[in-house]
């Protein structure tokens, strides 16, 4: 489909300049090395197949988070979502989690979604922390607004980061927004933000070579826990 660039120019949001998120590597409890790095518009088609299976998983609101993330990724790819960034986690190339977020203004960030495909290894918590790190440390923002679909994740973040209730609504239109300020971030950083930079070249090379996506069945089993039939 050809795009009428003249019309398109009215619709495409202008993108604010955004410094890049420097990749890091986190050692998981298994000893596995998770490369955490920023991905871009052109990577979206590689991420979508990992999100799609979650649309049918009601547990912990994976379906709602997955459907929204899917839509946000598409909108971003096709220039209908402004000032978005996306960070992924990969272990040996395999995609284990995706987070996205955006700048509402130069000062305020909006945390969008956190999708952990590998569970039980704190992948979600590490990636959520990485996105806070990007907002505060690299984009230099003063505050990030946060809400969550799942009560479990939300309560944890609220207490672990000491978030404060904010007036008004979060742009996702869900539960009340909570704010993470620069000060709160730096208070919590030593407990919640892991990882080393730079990523050793061999690990980075594996991560960048290919974003490996587990099979649909594997993704469902990772999220729901495999039903083990034992005779």
């Amino acid at each position: 489909m050809r795009i009428d660039m003249e019309l398109e120019a009215y619709l495409r949001p202008p993108d604010a300049p955004m410094p890049l998120y420097p990749a890091k590597v986190i050692t998981l409890v298994t000893g596995g090395k998770m490369v955490v790095r920023q991905v871009f518009r052109e990577d979206v088609p590689k991420l979508l197949p990992a999100v799609r299976p979650t649309l049918d998983i009601p547990r912990d609101y994976y379906d709602v988070v997955g459907a929204r993330l899917y839509a946000e990724l598409l909108a971003w790819q096709r220039y209908r979502y402004r000032d978005v960034f996306c960070i992924i986690g990969q272990v040996d190339g395999l995609l284990v989690g995706i987070v996205n977020s955006r700048m509402y203004s130069p000062q305020v960030g909006i945390s969008l979604h956190t999708l952990a495909i590998e569970r039980g290894l704190r992948v979600g918590a590490h990636l959520f922390a990485a996105k806070m790190e990007h907002h505060i440390e690299y984009l230099g923002q003063d505050e990030v607004l946060i809400t969550a679909e799942s009560p479990i994740g939300f309560r944890r973040w609220m207490i672990e980061y000491g978030l404060e209730l904010r007036e008004g609504q979060h742009e996702l239109g869900g539960a009340a927004p909570y704010g993470l300020t620069r000060e709160m971030y730096f208070d919590a950083k030593h407990r919640l933000v892991a990882g080393q930079r730079p990523v050793p070249p061999d690990l980075m090379e594996v991560a960048e070579r290919e974003i490996i996506v587990a099979s649909e069945q594997d993704i469902i089993e990772k999220i729901l826990g495999a039903r083990r039939e034992i005779p």
Binding site: V29, T30, A129, I152, R155, R191
Partner: protein, 395 residues
């Protein structure tokens, strides 16, 4: 007293089981034990259900009657036995007594708990309800917190290091990977949970000095054993009879601070002694042990209090690999509470199920070679009501 054997054993995988009710879980485990024993259509005289808190977790009580109904075992007698996290061990004891006394010939003992019906902090609260209400609970104490206060003292007194605690977790998670019934299925490494700087985040403090990988998870699950007399067991199936050789139980003060020496788990020592005395054997005769590692420190402390090692030697034996599968005394080949999970009321029965499999030689990849005598310890409250069990394969 008449001799009692475990003729059947079975359990369902421990995990988060959103789709099953507590009664479904109990029924499934119960059927597995009945089928394992080859019970067929023979009647069950009594059913004991080990369960801590169905009222709080699931808003359902009288679960033993509900189980009898689900399995259509009427008119069997039925009771729920509650002894906190040692409810399973206590339920086995009651089943034993029913047969040993001659009041019953066939008893089904099922332990189960469905804890994940409530969110994590609520589960922590339900579990904390076992603490002393006015002197402990009101302060916001959790079980990990009681264990943390205990660990701080015990580690100092006996030179136990964070490395030792991590070794318990590493061993039990490795064992758990060999157990298809285990809840947590991850191989953790010393680097990942202790030595790498990222471990501070990946393995966060739960109740200092205890971290996530020092604590058991919160699980759903059920396990069951079928108890009967040796004569009946022989008629039912050709499987080796596993004798309930000894049971011991002991209590201690409710509040941790009222123990003259808070590092002394007196109830563990006494329960183990009683079980060994009844079985007519000693700790050195045990080939495989399932201990209550709700917290890593407990595996070490219990291994000493139960008499397997002198105080201060448990951690050394662990570090030397003596407690691994293939070591001198394998402890928690099932993965223990750390990896198999800890649906509180189910645990004591799951320990017995593991021992039955081990003693029969049916434990697959995690089989302890030629195990003949097994020991389990189910730790209720924070050590204020402990049940110990000795099982034996007859020659």
């Amino acid at each position: 007293m008449k001799p009692v054997v475990m003729a059947g054993a079975g359990m369902i995988p421990f995990e988060r089981r959103d789709d099953d009710t507590l009664i479904d879980m109990l029924a499934e485990a119960g059927l597995r034990a009945m089928d394992d024993a080859g019970l067929g259509d023979q009647p069950v005289d009594a059913v004991y259900v080990g369960n801590m808190a169905s009222g709080l977790f699931n808003h359902q009580v009288s679960v033993a009657s509900a189980l009898v109904d689900k399995l259509s075992l009427y008119p069997a007698a039925a009771e729920r036995i509650e002894n906190g996290p040692a409810s399973g061990g206590s339920a086995i004891k009651h089943g034993y007594q029913a047969i040993a006394s001659g009041m019953a010939d066939v008893v089904l003992v099922v332990g189960g708990e469905k804890m994940r019906e409530v969110i994590g902090p609520r589960a922590t609260d339900v579990v904390a309800c076992m603490a002393q209400p006015e002197a402990e609970y009101i302060y916001g104490v959790s079980l990990p917190a009681l264990a943390g206060m205990f660990a701080r003292l015990y580690m100092k007194a006996y030179g136990i290091t964070p490395e030792h605690l991590a070794q318990v977790a590493i061993k039990n998670h490795a064992n758990g990977l060999l157990n298809p019934y285990a809840h947590i299925r991850a191989r953790v490494t010393l680097e990942g949970i202790l030595t790498h700087p990222d471990s501070k985040v990946g393995n966060p403090i739960v109740a200092d000095p205890l971290r996530l990988y020092d604590c058991c998870p919160v699980s759903d699950g059920a396990a069951a054993v079928l108890l009967t007399t040796p004569e009946i067991a022989k008629k039912l199936s050709a499987k080796p009879a596993i004798t309930v050789a000894g049971i011991g139980q002991a209590t201690d003060t409710h509040a941790l601070h009222e123990r003259a020496d808070p590092t002394d788990l007196k109830a563990v020592t006494i329960a183990a002694q009683k079980a060994f005395e009844m079985a007519g054997c000693k700790p050195a005769d045990v080939d495989v042990a399932e201990l209550h590692d709700a917290f890593t420190i407990l595996e070490i402390a219990e291994s000493e209090h139960a008499g397997f090692f002198k105080k201060g030697e448990g951690a050394k034996a662990l570090a030397a690999g003596e407690t691994q599968i293939g070591g001198k005394l394998p402890i928690n080949p099932s993965g223990g509470l750390k990896a198999r999970g800890h649906p509180v009321g189910a645990t004591g029965v799951a320990q017995a199920v593991e021992l039955v499999w081990q003693l029969r030689g049916e434990a697959g990849e995690r089989q302890v070679k030629n195990a003949q005598t097994g020991f389990s310890l189910n730790f209720g409250g924070f050590g204020n009501n402990v049940v110990a069990l000795v099982l034996r394969r007859e020659k």
